[in-house]
């Protein structure tokens, strides 16, 4: 049974603050592209606020741009976000007992808020809610700015902000390496995911790695 630790949402927000800017520019990139293919402002902003999933939303744009069907969009989103089923299961013990609040709190699950709040033997509601809220503000605000002001936002990659999210995950990984076997498992998983990527639709390599990790003999 996982221990539920008592950090405040403020603690999670403070930890996530360094990549508020990165979420903002990612959101702005989504807003710029969405508005650029004629999707307006309200639609993309609403989608960012509710779906709150960069990979799924960019995939939806790509399929829309190729005049793909709604079914193919949903298949792509399901593949990209299937891992959220596992994230949801691992944070469940820490969420509110009230079903409505539970649903609202689960909306703040992201790769980053999950990775920050779930540890081997514990899970923190505060860290998840605080860091998820910061990402939500950055992502949704960025989408609005990008959709409204378009290319005036400029190319953020020049200032290296796109390295912030992978760097953050590397820090979280380093923070969790207790045994040499962990390092080997992490590196193997990375190599496998990259090796599978050319042959599988986006998102599926993560699902394959996740399935292999769950099925691994212990």
């Amino acid at each position: 049974m996982k221990k539920v630790t008592g950090e405040r949402a403020r603690d999670g927000a403070r930890l996530a603050l360094p990549f508020l800017a990165a979420d903002f520019v990612d959101g702005a990139a989504f807003g710029v592209i969405a508005a650029g293919i004629g999707l307006g402002v309200a639609g993309p902003v609403l989608l960012s606020a509710i779906a709150f999933s960069g990979s799924a939303q960019f995939a939806a744009l790509t399929v829309l741009g190729d005049r793909g069907s709604l079914l193919s969009i949903l298949l792509a989103v399901a593949a990209l976000n299937a891992r959220y089923l596992v994230y949801g299961a691992s944070v469940a013990p820490a969420l509110s007992r009230n079903p409505v609040r539970r649903v609202l709190e689960a909306q703040l699950l992201t790769d980053a808020s999950w990775a920050l709040s779930v540890r081997e033997t514990s899970v923190s509601r505060g860290l998840m809610l605080g860091s998820g809220a910061i990402s939500w503000i950055g992502w949704t605000g960025g989408t609005a700015a990008g959709a409204l002001f378009g290319s005036a936002i400029g190319d953020y990659r020049g200032i290296g902000l796109d390295a912030a999210l992978p760097a953050f995950f590397v820090c979280l990984l380093l923070d969790r390496l207790a045994r040499r076997a962990d390092l080997i498992a992490g590196v193997l998983a990375g190599v496998a995911a990259v090796a599978l990527a050319p042959y599988l639709p986006p998102g599926i390599p993560l699902v394959v790695v996740l399935a292999a990790a769950l099925a691994r003999p212990r």
Partner: protein, 100 residues
Amino acid sequence: MRWEVIGAVAALCIALRVAAPLLLRGRELPPALEARLSGAIVPLLGALIAIQLFTHGGATSIDARAPGVAAAALVFAWRRSFVMALLAAAAITAALRVAA
């Protein structure tokens, strides 16, 4: 944006997030499954990092972010500071792009 697309994508994203918390309600996961989920954290992080850093549109690729992220790893191992590590990643990546 086509509203049916917004509605469907949003509904699916919500469903994937809330499915497990709602189905489990207050119940604990079986300890064996719990242990497996915990064991999957590090591999999943490894895969997320590698996919972001070393693939582009499915093809294997590498760019200035990789040395930036390596610098972040060194800074984090040295000072255990997320802020300093992320600043190092952005600074090295930007510097390499300016130099290129």
